[in-house]
Each structure stands twice: as structure tokens, then as C-alpha cells.
């Protein structure tokens, strides 16, 4: 069925898609606020507020909500990203009113009790420490900080430890009041419903919530990079990593699609399909320099990064991998790309898109995500726009984006282990 878009009087954007394949409905509420809008001193605030939204309201006490959705056989969760904070519930279709009531209620009535804020501070810091246990987290954090001197993409979504220690309940509550208003939100329903009926239910639950002031969004555009930047991180361990991060176009830019195809050729399609036939796998893994390679291009509101990550094999050097990557990038920039490679990338994208959108939850996510980028049509038209990318577009994108002055190169240098932690015989001390 066709997607419908409505805007309520209070500014709430409503996207509806009827899908009758299973007796389920997925319900999404996305707020147009994410880590890119956080100033120094308040990094991580969007993510922390997301956590606080699970602490309950008068009408929906925290412990009861968890149980309420589980009891119905539903699933619910939330995610904070660079560009948004989103919440969802996927439930048996005849129970969806509960999700609507719950989200309408916590758009206005979340409690932010001081004791809960302090208890959650420990949990959030623990989440950051869990991330820090991965050496690659440290490398990514340094690369983002080097790539974005000005723009809010410079810090990790979880936030800097200092800010997590110093932010107050009032900081969090102000953020909530300012950004959690209907005129800063997108709601999406996908599943087994009648669209007219669903729209009237949404009006019933959300229509009376007053619009707030148009929230000020903290955004500072990143100035043009003036030359290659390099960062080095040293962490305990045995495994070295090399990461290239090129400045990439925003998701709405035509070049985003050309770069998506370029990425598929260079490092393989997204994670749902293997990448053994990609150029860098053949050049780095088959030559036994790397144990694995991967690439990533994230659709974002503002220009972000296209990354290539190489896991070095024991005994091989970062310098060896750099030589290979430079040579493969040079091939692309010189126009050495075939129509067959472009066609293959398009077929892979079509298959991947089909896999991703087979659940109502997946479709709900992408419609909300796309509307936040500018229009739900971004999702609906994704495959068409990829299909329109020509071989020349791909070659032009390689020249435009894969330039040394447009990138940050990061090295993760392992410093080995101490204290005999890699000695298996020492592990069983009681």
C-alpha cells in the first residue's frame, strides 16, 4: 500500500504504511535531536535523555511498562544517533493503542527524578566503559575528533566522560522539554491497520499536545579540510588496525548514491552480504596482509565520513596495508571501474534492501529515518536513485571524494599485553 503523510495542527508529522503480511504493527516516534546538536559540556545528553525516558511517568511507572509490553509479546526499545533520538514499539496489531498512549504520555510527562538521574549516571558511565573495552572505539573516537573540529559529529554519541560526570538533572530536563515537542517529532506506523482508523487514533492521543517553541538546533558547519590529518592510538593488545575516513556527502546529496556504489566495489556491500569479491578483500586479505576489511557509509543529515577499516594479520605492518590501499584508491581515481562492477553493486543493493525491509519494524525505522533526512521519499526512492547512478557518476565521485586532503588516516598500534593476561595457564587462579 502507498505511504501516507499527514501533519497535525500541532506540527506532528505522521507517516502511515499499511502492511498486512503479519498481525503486527510497528510504531515509531523520532525526535529531530541527536548528538550532532550537542555543544561542548553537554556531549551525550541526547543519549542520556533517551535512557531517562525509560524511567516512567505517573501513568506508566517504569517497572510496569517493561512488563506491560513483554506481557503482550511485543518488543520496544530506543536508539540515539547523530541526527535523531527514536523510540519504537512493535506489538500484536490489536494492542497498538497501548504504544500510542505510552508514547504520547512520555512526550510530556517523563519524570526525571533526581535519584533516577544519579542512578542512571552510573549506568551510562558503565556503558561508555564497556565501549572503551574495545580498542576500535578509541580509534574511532580519535578519528571523529580529528575529522570534525567544529561540527557536532566530533564526539561520540555516548558523550565525553567529563560531561557524563558533570551534567545535572536540570540540564537533562531542559533538553527534554525543549526538544520533545510534537513540532519536532515524526511518528510512523507500519503494519496491519486501516490508515484512516490509525490516523484518527493518533489524533486522539497526540492531537491535544500543544506545540512548543521551534527548538533551536545547535549546528556548526565544518569548514573545509586543508590537508590530510593523521591520528595514532596506542592500546594494549596484539592486533593493529588501519582506518581511512574520507569526508562523504550528506544522504540527500546525489553523490551519496555514487559513493555507495563505489564503497560496494571497494569493500563490499553492507554487512548482510559477504565481501570476498570486493577489491580490498582481494588485495589485502588474499595477500595475507589483513585478516579482514570493511567499509562504511552512514546516511546522515550533514556530510559525515566514509570509512575503510583494515584488521592487520599478526606480523604484517600498517605500512604494507597503506601501500595497497593507496594503489587501489589510485585505480578508482584514474577511472578504472567497469559497468559490470556498477551493475553488480546495484543488484547487491536491491537484495540487501529487500532483506532489510521484510519486517514491519525495519520499514518503520527506515521511514522515520528518511523523513528526518528530509522526506520519507528518500527511503521509497532509494533503489531508483541508485539505479540512476551511471558509470561516469561513480568515476566522478572517486575523483571528488577519495583525495588525501579529504581524509583522516588512523593507526591503532597494539602495545602488547602485560601481567601474563594472555597466558591461558594463569586464567584459572581461584
Amino acid at each position: 500500500m502507498a505511504v501516507q503523510r499527514h501533519v497535525l495542527e500541532n506540527g506532528l508529522v505522521v507517516i502511515l504504511k499499511e502492511v498486512q503480511s503479519a498481525p503486527l504493527i510497528s510504531w515509531w516516534v523520532l525526535y529531530r535531536i541527536g548528538s550532532r546538536n550537542e555543544p561542548t559540556g553537554k556531549t551525550g545528553i541526547s543519549h542520556w535523555v533517551e535512557h531517562m525516558m525509560f524511567k516512567g511517568t505517573e501513568a506508566f511507572p517504569a517497572k510496569e511498562v517493561d512488563k506491560m509490553f513483554d506481557r503482550l509479546g511485543g518488543t520496544w526499545n530506543a536508539q540515539t544517533s547523530f541526527d535523531y533520538t527514536a523510540y519504537y514499539e512493535t506489538l500484536p496489531a490489536d494492542k497498538i493503542d497501548l504504544a500510542l498512549r505510552h508514547e504520547a504520555d512520555r512526550m510530556v510527562n517523563a519524570r526525571f527524578d533526581i535519584e533516577e538521574v544519579e542512578s542512571e549516571r552510573t549506568v551510562i558511565i558503565s556503558e561508555r566503559q564497556g565501549l572503551e573495552n574495545s580498542p576500535l572505539f578509541w580509534l574511532d573516537e580519535e578519528i571523529s575528533a580529528a575529522a570534525f573540529r567544529v561540527h557536532g559529529y566530533h564526539h561520540e554519541i555516548v558523550g565525553d566522560l567529563h560531561d557524563l560526570r558533570t551534567m545535572t538533572r536540570d540540564d537533562l530536563y531542559s533538553h527534554y522539554r525543549r526538544y520533545y515537542v510534537p513540532n519536532n517529532a515524526i511518528v510512523v506506523a507500519v503494519g496491519a491497520f486501516d490508515p484512516d482508523d490509525m490516523l484518527s487514533r493518533i489524533r486522539q492521543h497526540f492531537g491535544a499536545i500543544p506545540a512548543g517553541d521551534t527548538p533551536p538546533l545547535f549546528v556548526r558547519p565544518e569548514p573545509e579540510q586543508q590537508g590530510e590529518r593523521r591520528v595514532t592510538v596506542e592500546r594494549p593488545g596484539h592486533t593493529a588496525f588501519l582506518e581511512y575516513a574520507y569526508r562523504a556527502p550528506a544522504a540527500g546529496d546525489d553523490d551519496f548514491y555514487a559513493l555507495t556504489i563505489l564503497d560496494s566495489i571497494l569493500t563490499g556491500p553492507d554487512g548482510q552480504i559477504d565481501n570476498k569479491t570486493s577489491r580490498l578483500y582481494r588485495a589485502l586479505v588474499e595477500t595475507e596482509i589483513a585478516a579482514s576489511i570493511g567499509g562504511g557509509l552512514v546516511p546522515t543529515v550533514d556530510p559525515y565520513l566514509y570509512t575503510i577499516v583494515v584488521t592487520l594479520r599478526d606480523g604484517r605492518t600498517i605500512a604494507e596495508a597503506e601501500v595497497i590501499i593507496e594503489s587501489e584508491i589510485a585505480r578508482l581515481v584514474a577511472g578504472d571501474v567497469s559497468q559490470a562492477e556498477v551493475d553488480k553493486a546495484k543488484k547487491q543493493a536491491r537484495a540487501s534492501f529487500a532483506y532489510t525491509t521484510e519486517t514491519v519494524t525495519g520499514q518503520g525505522y527506515w521511514l522515520a529515518f528518511a523523513e528526518n533526512l528530509g522526506s520519507y521519499g528518500w527511503f521509497e526512492g532509494y533503489i531508483d536513485r541508485l539505479d540512476h547512478v551511471s558509470l561516469d557518476d561513480v568515476k566522478a565521485a572517486a575523483i571528488r571524494y577519495l583525495r588525501p586532503r579529504n581524509r583522516v588516516v588512523g593507526h591503532l598500534i597494539p602495545t602488547g599485553l602485560v601481567d601474563g593476561a594472555n597466558d591461558e595457564d594463569d586464567d584459572d587462579a581461584e
Binding site: E358, D419, A421
Partner: protein, 430 residues
């Protein structure tokens, strides 16, 4: 309830096509016309149960090498057939079985079937590919020495099961065992363990079931392996008789991961459903059950804290896992075991029991929404010999669980003063 579930289109004996080929291969197909793709999953003998401790990793290397060369195709040709059409397929060895699975657009099902047949029937294990794979796995093992979750799980497993039990070992092998495994050993392992006996294949998607069975028959019915060794099973495992603390110090970590547990029930144990509900109340339902409530919500000690029951083909673990600050390890362990003691001493409440039954029954539509979900459920019904009407009968099985049964399940498997506590993380913890 039964009628409703049938009306919902649950997979059952009347809508699953089941065929046993003349060589013993079992095929089950379920049409799902609401999607564009198809999923093929299954399992066969050849897990680490069939290797010796000295050659730990042999089964895993064999399975992972199947797609690295056959009599008619090299690695790139095998990968290219799949990746060119956006399909994916792989093999992986666990303890009991080699699992295989993949997906494609529905019209490409023949490629999945042909890949499966060619790789299991005609692999050649090229020595250069085996050497390369070994290097990749060893790089991964080196890296995982830095992974606190993996190290806590490894230490837990090694302490809970003694060296004579197959569960003591990870199917991946170790940095010490892998260098002793070569291509010739893989060939021998394949020749002695692989064969049609014990192979189960499940296909779900936008396909015609009879045609899908015929397609499998055409490729796999000619497979014979007269030398295939008979099936093995694992023996029982005694629980520890006192609490064993194991610490894996890892430098540079800011968070510790903890695993606490005992030997749990097999999937086919008569008390399995009662144990599942007990586990859910302990550390799953709502925000990670009672343990989530005590350790994360009330004490704010952890980002995650949950319990899990393996319940597979043998006496798998029943465990509690948490990620906590090193200073809070002891408290998190005490709080978790306190909940186990309570559940052994007192009946769970009627509300808890009813809520969890509703949770287990109510989430079926969500679990069965995707091809993967349907295929996994059908594979379990077949391989655990639950009967193809298991899902129809499932609500009655769940509703039959009593508070007595839940308490008995805890009492049967848990002795809170005799558990394994494994901690991996900051090097200076006690």
C-alpha cells in the same frame, strides 16, 4: 488458543512440506509469499564433538574451509556466484553440528542449493586457503584476548566443564592448537564425519514447496558417504561442588564482565519449559527480570545484567552475565545470587507466572514474522524431535507450568553456594 494459532498461519504439519531423500537428507519447506526473498538453513554432523582436544579447532576449520575451494570452483568463483546476485551463504561448526545458512532473492534459490551441495560434497581444502584461514582465525583469537565478554565466557566455560567434556572447549580452537591443524587433516575429517546421514535442510520464502524439494533432491540425493562415522552425543556434566572464582586480568580495561552460572537443562529435558520461565523471571522478562531490576535499576551497578539458559543438545549452561565497574563486581555477584536464593526458597508470584506465560505465548507472531524466524523454528521442531505441530501445542505446554515447577527448576539446577564466577577485566581487580 489452538484454533487461533492455526488461524494465524503458524507453521504446522499441514503447511510444512517434509521429505526424506533416499540417502537420509531431510528437507522441510514452508512458503512465505509475503516477501521477495528466500532463506535456506540447516545442520549436519561434524561439530567439535567429533574432534580430539589436541586438535581443537579442526571441526571449525573444516566447516569454514568448505567454501574455499571445490573440485570445480575456487574461492573467488564460489563467492562471486553468491555476491554477484546479493546472496549470502556460510558454514560454521558448533559443538554438536555444522550449521549452514544463507539467503537470496527468491528466484536465486537454486544458487543457494547448488552452493550447499557443491561445498559439502566436493570440497578440496586447498592448503594455501587453509593456511590463510588459520591466520585469520588466529588474528581474531589474538584480538579476542582483549574482549572482556569473550574472556569471561571462556573462563566460565573452562571452569564449569572439566577437560574431559566437549563443552570445556571452544569450537574455534586456540592459539596453541590451530598451528597443528593442516589441510590434510581437514580432508580426513571431512571424509570421516561428513555425509548425508543427519542432514536437515529448511527452506522458507517466496517459493513453491514441491519445486524446492525437487531442487534439493536433484543436487543432494546422489550424495553418499559409506564411511561416515556414527552420530555422537555428549555425556552429562556434573555441577561444581563448591564455588569457583576465576579472574582474567586484562590491562587497560575500565569495565569488567562477569559470568555466574551452573550446568542447566537440555532442550529435551521434561522441565525445560519450567526452567525457561524460571530464567525469564530471574533475568529476562521486563528490563532483564529480577536481576535487571536489582543490579541495574535499583543499584545502578551495570549497563547490562541478564540471565540465559542454553538448552541445546546437551547439558548447556544456565548463566547470569553482567558488565560492571571493577569496584562493583562483588556486589553485583551477591545481588544476583540473592535473587537465585529467593527463587529457590519462595514461589514466584501468580502475577509473575501469568505475565511470563503471556510473554512466551504472545511474542510468537513477532518471532515468526521473518523467513529467518520461521526457518529457525522449523529447524528446532525437526532436530529436537518436537513434532511439526509443536508451535500449535506450545501455548498449552507453557500454560501447564506451575509455580512449583518454576521453583523446582531453580532447585534442580542451582546451588547458589556452588557456582562458577568468572570475571574478566581491569587488571588490578581482586
Amino acid at each position: 488458543m489452538t484454533q487461533n494459532n492455526v488461524a494465524l498461519g503458524l507453521p504446522n504439519s499441514s503447511n510444512i512440506t517434509r521429505a526424506v531423500l533416499s540417502n537420509g537428507v531431510t528437507v522441510l519447506v514452508r512458503a512465505n509469499p509475503s516477501v521477495k526473498s528466500v532463506v535456506l538453513v540447516g545442520q549436519m554432523r561434524g561439530g567439535s564433538l567429533y574432534e580430539s582436544p589436541q586438535h581443537n579447532g579442526l571441526a571449525s576449520m573444516t566447516a569454514a574451509s568448505l567454501m574455499r575451494g571445490t573440485e570445480s570452483r575456487g574461492l573467488q568463483a564460489i563467492a562471486s556466484r553468491l555476491e554477484d546476485i546479493g546472496a549470502d551463504f556460510d558454514f560454521a561448526a558448533g559443538v554438536h553440528h555444522v550449521s549452514f545458512g544463507g539467503k537470496a532473492l527468491a528466484e536465486d534459490l537454486p544458487v543457494l542449493i547448488d552452493t550447499l551441495a557443491d561445498c559439502v560434497m566436493n570440497p578440496v581444502f586447498p592448503s594455501d586457503q587453509v593456511d590463510r584461514l588459520r591466520g585469520e582465525v588466529m588474528t581474531w583469537l589474538q584480538y579476542s584476548l582483549q574482549d572482556t565478554r569473550r574472556q569471561a565466557s571462556r573462563a566460565f566455560r573452562e571452569s564449569l566443564y572439566d577437560a574431559s567434556h566437549p563443552y570445556h572447549y571452544s569450537p574455534r580452537g586456540t592459539l596453541e592448537s590451530l598451528p597443528g591443524i593442516d589441510a590434510q587433516m581437514l580432508k580426513q575429517f571431512h571424509a570421516s564425519q561428513y555425509g548425508p546421514d543427519g542432514v536437515t535442510i529448511v527452506i522458507v520464502g517466496a517459493v513453491d514447496p514441491a519445486a524446492a524439494v525437487d531442487a534439493v533432491r536433484a543436487k543432494l540425493e546422489s550424495w553418499t558417504a559409506p564411511d561416515q562415522a556414527p552420530a555422537r552425543s555428549v555425556g552429562s556434566a556434573a555441577n561444581v561442588d563448591r564455588t569457583i572464582h576465576t579472574v582474567v586480568p586484562i590491562p587497560g580495561k575500565t569495565q569488567s564482565d562477569v559470568v555466574i552460572g551452573v550446568v542447566g537443562p537440555e532442550r529435551r529435558s521434561p522441565d525445560f519449559q519450567a526452567a525457561r520461565i524460571a530464567n525469564s523471571i530471574l533475568g529476562e522478562f521486563g528490563m532483564m527480570g529480577r536481576i535487571g531490576d536489582e543490579v541495574r535499576e535499583k543499584a545502578g551497578l551495570a549497563y547490562y545484567a541478564y540471565s540465559r539458559i542454553e538448552g541445546g543438545y546437551g547439558p548447556g549452561a544456565w548463566s547470569i552475565s553482567a558488565g560492571v565497574n571493577p569496584a562493583n563486581v562483588e556486589r553485583a555477584v551477591d545481588l544476583s545470587l540473592q535473587e537465585v536464593r529467593k527463587m529457590a526458597a519462595e514461589h514466584v508470584t501468580d502475577t509473575e507466572l501469568d505475565d511470563n506465560k503471556s510473554y512466551f505465548i504472545g511474542r510468537m507472531p513477532l518471532q515468526l514474522e521473518t523467513n529467518e524466524g520461521l526457518a529457525g523454528a522449523i529447524l528446532s521442531m525437526e532436530t529436537f524431535e518436537l513434532g511439526l505441530d509443536y508451535l500449535v501445542e506450545y501455548p498449552a505446554q507453557i500454560n501447564a507450568v506451575t509455580a512449583d515447577g518454576v521453583r523446582e527448576a531453580i532447585q534442580t539446577y542451582w546451588t547458589p553456594d556452588a557456582v562458577v564466577v568468572a570475571v574478566a577485566g581491569a587488571a588490578d581487580q581482586g
